[in-house]
């Protein structure tokens, strides 16, 4: 009896801390809504359709930021996804066993480097390199809306490249785990039917497609919220443009740059509303991504019940 009641005490005691974690997430949502009420009431949905951002006149439209965030993240994914999948396939299916651990370590190191270091590198190394690429772009291509504008170096292309570098380790490490959960019989079956390496791996990738979409979305979530590196290279210009060469702005960057300058309560409130929407978007993208990865992992586990627990076996 006393043992039982003491166990209940333990459960309640640890539960309080677990509850605290839950409360923090709720508090973030609550606080963001509370601080942005001013702006929500004042501008309503027009906030997200208006292109004008003029703090001096008190006019706030967030379209350029949501555009810049989505555009930079999508371009980054277009660069990062093939590379990340290539790495995942190489590490899990093709490379000699001795190379595997070092390669995993090195790709994960890419994720450990602080954002600010990427930003510093971006300003002084990447941007000048991108500028010379832009200068070298033939005049005929420069007529296209995609490459219009002066070759500044800072702008969408630099931001997308740096985001791609930062996203690669996330997408590749989750894809690698997902590929690991594809049953060996799948591959052996393909080889037994006379498939080439490519065909066997393609079958495995197809089998793992749900998880791989999840891995790509995880990268998307990272790219959407990335702040410092992007702020330092994107040029911080609130203009909607198709051009990869044009300096633009993202949601995270505008908060980072203007938050401490926002003396006017409405200005601050508008910035917090941008943060609120960034919070909601990343929450949705990450939840969906986890759902996909999780459903993949579960079906994978069901298929390999005969094998020993993966983690211990790997060591």
């Amino acid at each position: 009896m006393t043992l039982r009641s003491r166990d209940l005490g333990f459960r309640a005691g640890t539960g309080v801390f677990a509850l605290a974690l839950l409360l923090i997430v709720c508090a973030i949502g609550f606080e963001l809504v509370r601080q942005s009420l001013d702006s929500i009431q004042r501008f309503g949905l027009a906030f997200w359709r208006t292109e004008l951002w003029d703090p001096v006149a008190g006019e706030f439209g967030a379209l350029p930021f949501i555009w810049g965030t989505l555009y930079s993240s999508v371009v980054a994914l277009m660069i990062a996804t093939p590379i990340a999948l290539g790495i995942a396939v190489f590490v899990s299916e093709l490379c000699p066993a001795a190379l595997r651990q070092p390669l995993v370590f090195l790709t994960e190191l890419l994720a450990a480097i602080p954002s600010i270091v990427y930003g510093l590198w971006g300003i002084f190394v990447l941007v000048p390199a991108i500028r010379s690429v832009e200068v070298a772009t033939p005049e005929a291509l420069r007529q296209l809306p995609l490459f219009s504008g002066p070759p500044l170096g800072v702008g969408m292309l630099s931001a997308a490249v740096i985001l791609a570098i930062m996203v690669i380790p996330f997408t590749s490490s989750v894809s690698r785990e997902v590929l690991k959960s594809v049953p060996a019989a799948q591959r052996e079956g393909a080889y037994a039917l006379g498939a080439t390496r490519f065909e066997a791996i393609r079958a495995a990738l197809y089998y793992a497609r749900t998880g791989i979409v999840g891995a790509v979305m995880l990268g998307f979530g990272r790219a959407l919220g990335e702040t410092m590196a992007v702020t330092m290279v994107i040029g911080n210009n609130p203009k909607v443009s198709m051009s990869l060469f044009a300096p633009q702005y993202t949601m995270a960057a505008v908060i980072a740059n203007e938050f401490t300058e926002a003396a006017d309560p409405l200005y601050l409130s508008a910035l917090v509303e941008i943060g609120l929407v960034l919070f909601i978007i990343t929450l949705l993208v990450n939840s969906l991504s986890r759902l996909l990865i999780w459903s993949m992992a579960r079906s994978g586990i069901a298929a390999m019940t005969a094998e020993p627990p993966a983690r211990v076996a790997a060591a």
Binding site: F10, L22, I24, I28, L110, P114, V117, L120, F198, G225
Partner: protein, 282 residues
């Protein structure tokens, strides 16, 4: 059999693409590390660690205040995050099947994915605005919020790795649940948990965005928790976007110090996990 030849060619091209894509990660990594070391090494001097920032135009000076600031901010974050993180990790693993555990797990993953700049906005709202003062405390709070989910999830995973027989043995001897956890299960997983905490510290020490409007910045030395405080990362940012060559040099030096911290922690953690995995495999 032209078909076979083509299939083999496609296959080889695919293998080649995968091998080359590895360079897509290694080349940027090499470039970043090369420039950080090459540019930073010249400016990492004793002065860099021991001197205060000099006024604009005066060469020399260092980041002593920012280095101490980063240490204090990370320390504060750990004081807040380690108890909450470890104990909620214990709850999630001990009561893994319960609805609250599932909910907390979801919350931890959500919090882990929240952009760091949004954490900054939140911390500004609850720890700066009410006191009308940027402060060391607010910065530590922001970093602590970021650190909690990392520690919670690591603790949970590592506790679940401890063989069930150990817990059952303790319970069979008449131990309470708390006793079984704190005297048997937790000590078995402790080296791994400490490794996780070190990695989490390395990660938040490199954060900039949540500090921009919480701990703000300070040109002077500060240990008062109610005052704005410099941090290594924020200092690098301010120096990088300023137009002075001398500041750029110092920013590179700061980056080198940061990257060294991260590298050393990752390497140590990797060695530790290897030993742990070997222990568990036995």
């Amino acid at each position: 059999m032209i078909g076979t030849a083509r299939r083999k060619l496609v296959s080889s091209l695919f293998v080649a693409f995968c091998a080359i894509s590895v360079l897509g990660a290694l080349v940027p990594l090499g470039f970043v590390l090369f420039f950080v070391v090459a540019q930073g090494i010249r400016s990492v001097t004793i002065d860099f660690f021991l001197q205060m920032p000099k006024p604009v135009g005066e060469p020399g000076g260092g980041m002593a205040n920012a280095i101490v600031g980063t240490l204090m901010l990370s320390g504060l974050a750990a004081v807040m995050a380690v108890p909450i993180g470890v104990i909620s990790g214990i709850y999630m693993s001990e009561y893994a099947g319960t609805r609250l555990a599932a909910l907390v797990r979801f919350a931890a993953d959500t919090l882990n994915g929240v952009p760091s700049i949004v954490i900054g906005v939140f911390a500004y709202g609850v720890a700066v605005l009410p006191f009308r003062q940027f402060s060391l405390l607010a910065g530590g709070f922001a970093l602590g919020v970021m650190m909690i989910p990392i520690i919670a999830r690591t603790t949970e995973e590592l506790l679940l790795l401890v063989p069930g027989a150990m817990r059952e043995g303790a319970l069979a001897l008449g131990a309470t649940r708390a006793r079984a956890v704190f005297s048997v299960v937790l000590p078995a997983a402790l080296p791994g948990i400490v490794t996780g905490i070190v990695l989490a510290l390395a990660r938040i020490a490199g954060e900039t965005a949540p500090l921009l409007f919480t701990s703000f910045n300070n040109r002077f030395f500060n240990t008062d928790p109610r005052q704005p405080t410099a941090a290594l990362t924020v200092q690098i940012y301010n120096y990088a976007i300023a137009p002075y060559d001398d500041w750029h040099r110092q920013a590179w030096a700061g980056a080198l110090v940061l990257v060294t911290i991260v590298l050393v922690c990752s390497l140590l953690a990797r060695l530790a996990t290897r030993r742990l995995e070997r222990m568990h495999a036995r």
